[in-house]
Amino acid sequence: MTELSKSGAAVGEPTVASPAPSAFLEVRDLKVHFPTDDGLVKSVDGLTFQLEKGKTLGIVGESGSGKSVTSLGIMGLHTAGQYGKRKARISGEIWLDGTELLSADPDHVRKLRGRQMAMIFQDPLSALHPYYTIGQQIVEAYRIHHDVDKKTAKRRAVEMLDRVGIPQPDKRVDNYPHEFSGGMRQRAMIAMSLVNNPELLIADEPTTALDVTVQAQILDLIRDLQKEFGSAVIIITHDLGVVAELADDLLVMYGGRCVERGPAEKVFYEPRHPYTWGLLGSMPRLDRDQQERLIPVKGSPPSLINVPSGCAFNPRCPYADVPKDNVTRTVRPELTEVGSKHWAACHMSQEQRERIWTEEIAPKL
């Protein structure tokens, strides 16, 4: 308890200064744990990935898989403004453009927030302050990082609203969030996050609260803006369709861990983890002929308090009983390379998985 209240931020092993990576964003062995009355919630438990500028990484997973916690961790929002309550324990390394964020001065990280890295949230209505106009909120975001007067900042806000496709931006800039429709709000949110030309944009379920035709507009907008600004984008979603639209690389999370990671084509066409198979099988698809039945994943998502010591997916895995060589079930499977830049964490041998995928899973999809 005393240990907690003293230093909440980076408990764990003191961060060893390892060499700065070449990638624009590199996350190494990120762990985010939350102490609660019921025990330690291991929301993210050892996550590693890289992302280059101009590329899009999709993080896919179900609720509670740790995908949103990861994004807040990168933004440093677990430690900012956590008053009194038991703080998140974060360890690992987050390198953004040569700077390690977890060991950096919090005020330095604050200055990066909104300027070098920005974020779009799921529900634009609750993510915008109801008492300030859209313009005031964008102006504020701009003036934190730019020493300009309000007039200049407002011109910039109008320019951004125009860029994200809001009609009559010079009038709409003085509207309040409740006077916007859902799609317009998300556009305004995007305008606000891009006002400082961030190099990293994290979009956390950016279209989940929107209708499908509006979703198409927003996805289109994100894609265009990325091309224009050349930023690195992390898109977090539970919808495989959305990531397929946008992502170059894919990271599948389950129970706070990465179970599969690789180029989007590889993960979609040659998935090598039973959970990824499960996700693909549970989804009715418009682009295929009618499946007779969906192939759901049995059971429910795991509790993050008592994660099984072995593979987190073990209790739900239909192949848990497939005989495996030299493997103890209580050992956590590590990510192993199953193809070029393609990793999966499963105890089954690569041959076994290849066979199951091509013979049993793929034909049914």
Binding site: L77, S126, A127, H129
Partner: protein
């Protein structure tokens, strides 16, 4: 915004008329139904029937109900002339009638006493807002800390201890024990320092109770607001934490506080009976307490109307402020 204001004002005026009618009805008609003769209660117990009849004539008590209400209503705005039993009495413009006991006009009594109550209520409100909000916000930001727990224990004490208890203790310690202050009310016109000295203890006592309530509400609201998505957005923009609190969290926290303040101030202006009695302040509360004891109906009626008016005005001000703070209200 202007249309909104006009609408609220109009609603308040309608409300006031309704209140006058209902209150008058209750105070003058209920005794009648209960078999209590107002005229004889005005004159006294052993009065001769002729005097009672004269009073009844003078006050118009035998008139039909609607004309009694109308006369009363008219009296408030144009004054009223009582005639009957030989002598004629004129009661000028805001006429609320005459006290049964002191036989004085009621309006001057109200205007005498109102400033005392107003000073008590406003002064205390200033104090409790200052301390209540500060304590609440600090507790919320340092949730679970020693400070938070300490403040909440004090707040709990403040909420549960009655005013006459804390008031008596304050009087005993500061006025009589340490002899720092004079426990006597001095009108503002006579001496500012005397006025201040006389009001400091009542202010603190009253503010203690309310500050405790406000601290608890502020803390709870603040904690809820800090969990809102838009606070996370503000941080994600790179705002400094103090700015996040001041600009984004405080403004939202104020809305429920404001609603409470409107109701509390309105109620207090109607008479902080316990505080006024404890500190012997010549305010409305004390007046109404005496009136109740002596069944002085016109005084009770007058104070009730003033209280209703105060509550209405307070709520009107709160509604307008609300619309200023929350743009969503302007549409409604």
């Amino acid at each position: 915004m202007l249309a909104y204001l006009i609408r609220r004002l109009f609603a308040a005026a309608v409300m006031l008329v309704v209140i006058i009618m209902v209150v008058f009805g209750i105070f003058f008609l209920v005794p009648k139904w209960a078999g209590v003769d107002i005229a004889s209660s005005f004159v006294g117990k052993q009065a001769d029937p002729a005097a009672v009849e004269a009073v009844r004539q003078k006050l118009g008590l035998s008139d039909p109900i609607y004309s009694q209400v109308w006369e009363f209503f008219k009296g408030i705005f144009t004054g009223r002339t009582y005639s009957g039993g030989g002598d004629v009495t004129h009661c000028s413009a805001p006429c609320f009638g005459y006290s049964f006991r002191s036989e004085q006009a009621i309006w001057p009594v109200l205007t005498d006493r109102f400033p005392v109550t107003l000073a008590l209520a406003l002064g205390a409100a200033l104090l409790w807002l200052l301390f209540g909000l500060a304590a609440g916000v600090l507790s919320a930001l340092k949730r679970g800390s020693f400070w938070d727990r300490g403040a909440m224990v004090v707040a709990l004490a403040g909420v549960s201890l009655p005013v006459y208890f804390t008031g008596m203790i304050a009087l005993a310690v500061f006025a009589f024990g340490l002899d720092w202050l004079d426990a006597q009310y001095v009108p503002l016109a006579d001496s500012f320092t005397g006025w201040l000295g006389g009001l400091i203890l009542p202010w603190i006592t009253l503010a203690f109770l309310y500050a405790a309530m406000y601290a608890r509400i502020t803390r709870a609201t603040m904690l809820e607001i800090l969990g809102e998505d838009y606070i996370r957005t503000a941080r994600a923009k790179g705002l400094r934490e103090p700015v996040v609190i001041r600009k984004h969290a405080m403004r939202s926290t104020l809305t429920p506080i404001l609603t409470m303040l409107g109701m509390d101030l309105g109620a207090l202006i109607g008479g902080a009976i316990l505080t006024e009695s404890t500190f012997n302040l010549p305010g409305l509360g004390q007046a109404v307490l005496n009136a109740i004891k002596t069944q002085d109906l016109p005084v009770i009626l007058g104070v009730t109307l003033i209280t209703s008016l105060a509550v209405l005005i307070a709520n009107l001000v709160v509604d307008v402020l609300y619309a200023v703070i929350d743009p969503r209200v302007r549409l409604a």
